[in-house]
C-alpha cells in the first residue's frame, strides 16, 4: 500500500477553469473599472447618490416620527400626562429665555450697525438627513448643497450663534458638515472667563476635537477657569462653540487641560443653519 497526494484534484481543476472563464474575467474587469470610476470621480458619484438618497432619508425621518407616535399610544395615560406637564413647563421657560435672547441679539446687531459694522449673517436652513451614529465619523449630511448656495468652509450652527461645525464637501443638493468635535479637527478660539481680578475677559485657546461632541484645550496653569465657561469664535459675528465641562489640573504641570462639549447634542439635531460666506468670521 502506498499513499500519494494529488495536486490536481477535480475541484482544483474546476476552480482554475472558473477563473479563466470569460464571464469571470469580465466581472473582475467591470469591478476594477467601477472602483477606478469611484476613486477618480468620488464627488460626482456622491452627488448622484445623494440626489436619490436625500428624499429617501427625509421620508425615513418622517416615518420614524409617525411610528414613534403610534407606539406612544401604548404608554399609560398617567405617564403621558406627567410627561406633557413637564414638557410644557420646560417649553414655557425656554420660550421666555428665547424671547429674551432674540431681543438682546437684535439689540447687539443694531449697536454694531450704528458703529458701522453689519453683523447680521445670511443663513440657509437645512435639514439633517444623516447624523451620528448613522455615520461612523463626527459628520452630518444636510439636504442643502451647491444649488441652495452652500459653499465649502461655510460655518454651520444649530440655531442662532451656536456653531457646531463647517461644511467640508458640497454636492449638488447635499453637503457634508464636519463637526468641530470630530477627531483630528483643531482650530483657534477664545475662552470666555473671569480673571483673577474678577473681570470678564477672553484668552486665546487652541481646541482639538476628540469625537462624540467633545474637545480639549490647554491653558497655562493658574488660569481661573471653571466648568461652564464658554468657548467662542472671534469676529464681528461671534459664534458660541461650546462650554467647558471639566478642568483637569495636576500639581506641578505647566498647563491645565480643559474638557469641553458642543453646546447641543449632535445626535438629536434635525435642522441646522448654514452661514453663507462666513469663513471663520
Amino acid at each position: 500500500m502506498r499513499t500519494t497526494s494529488s495536486k490536481r484534484t477535480p475541484l482544483n481543476r474546476a476552480s482554475g477553469r472558473m477563473l479563466r472563464s470569460p464571464s469571470t474575467f469580465f466581472s473582475i474587469l467591470a469591478l476594477v473599472v467601477l472602483i477606478l470610476v469611484v476613486f477618480l470621480w468620488r464627488d460626482g458619484v456622491a452627488s448622484v447618490f445623494w440626489r436619490g438618497a436625500v428624499p429617501v432619508l427625509d421620508a425615513r425621518g418622517g416615518l420614524s416620527s409617525d411610528v414613534g407616535g403610534v407606539f406612544a399610544q401604548f404608554s399609560s395615560k398617567a405617564e403621558l400626562a406627567a410627561e406633557n406637564a413637564r414638557l410644557s413647563d420646560a417649553l414655557a421657560s425656554t420660550s421666555a429665555a428665547l424671547l429674551d435672547r432674540d431681543l438682546l441679539y437684535q439689540e447687539n446687531l443694531d449697536l454694531k450697525l450704528r458703529l458701522g459694522r453689519d453683523a447680521s449673517v445670511p443663513t440657509i436652513l437645512a435639514g439633517v438627513v444623516m447624523r451620528p451614529p448613522a455615520v461612523p465619523y463626527d459628520t452630518l449630511t444636510i439636504d442643502a448643497g451647491q444649488g441652495e448656495g452652500v459653499t465649502r468652509g461655510d460655518l454651520v450652527s444649530a440655531g442662532g450663534t451656536t456653531l457646531i461645525g463647517s461644511v467640508d464637501t458640497v454636492y449638488a443638493h447635499a453637503s457634508r458638515v464636519v463637526l468641530f468635535s470630530a477627531p483630528g479637527q483643531s482650530y483657534d478660539a477664545l475662552l470666555s472667563m473671569t480673571d483673577q481680578a474678577g473681570v470678564a475677559t477672553t484668552i486665546p485657546v487652541h481646541v482639538e476635537g476628540q469625537g462624540a461632541g467633545s474637545f480639549t484645550a490647554q491653558v497655562p496653569s493658574g488660569t481661573v477657569v471653571a466648568a461652564g465657561n464658554t468657548i467662542l469664535f472671534s469676529g464681528i459675528a461671534t459664534g458660541f462653540v461650546g462650554f467647558v465641562s471639566h478642568v483637569e489640573a495636576n500639581e506641578g504641570d505647566s498647563f491645565e487641560t480643559l474638557y469641553a462639549r458642543l453646546p447641543v447634542d449632535p445626535l438629536g439635531l434635525r435642522f441646522v443653519e448654514v452661514r453663507r460666506n462666513a469663513h471663520g468670521q
Binding site: M1, T3, T4, S6, S15, S27, V38, A53, P133, G211
Partner: protein, 98 residues
Amino acid sequence: MLMDSKRSILTLVIALCAVAGFAVPCWQLAILAVLAAAISGRYALAVCLGLLLDIAYGVPVGVLHALLFPFTLLALITVGGAFVMSNSLRKKPADRLY
C-alpha cells in the same frame, strides 16, 4: 436548486443588513454586511457595498483620513483573505490509497 435558493436568500439577507445599517441607523451593521458578503464568497457584492458605504459616508475624518476609502479597503482585504483561504482549502492534498 436548493443550494441556489439558499445562496439567493443569503445574498438577500446580506443586502438587507447593509440597507438596515444605513436606515436604522447603525453603521456597524453595514460593516457586518460587507464582511459577511466577502466571507460567504460574494466578492463583487462585498466590494460594491464597500464602495457604496464610502460614497455615503465620505472621506474619513481624523486619523483614518489617509485611508480615503476605508470600507472599500476592508472589503478588498476581506475578499482577498477569503479567496486565499478557500483556495488553500481546495488545494489541500488528499491522501489516496493505492
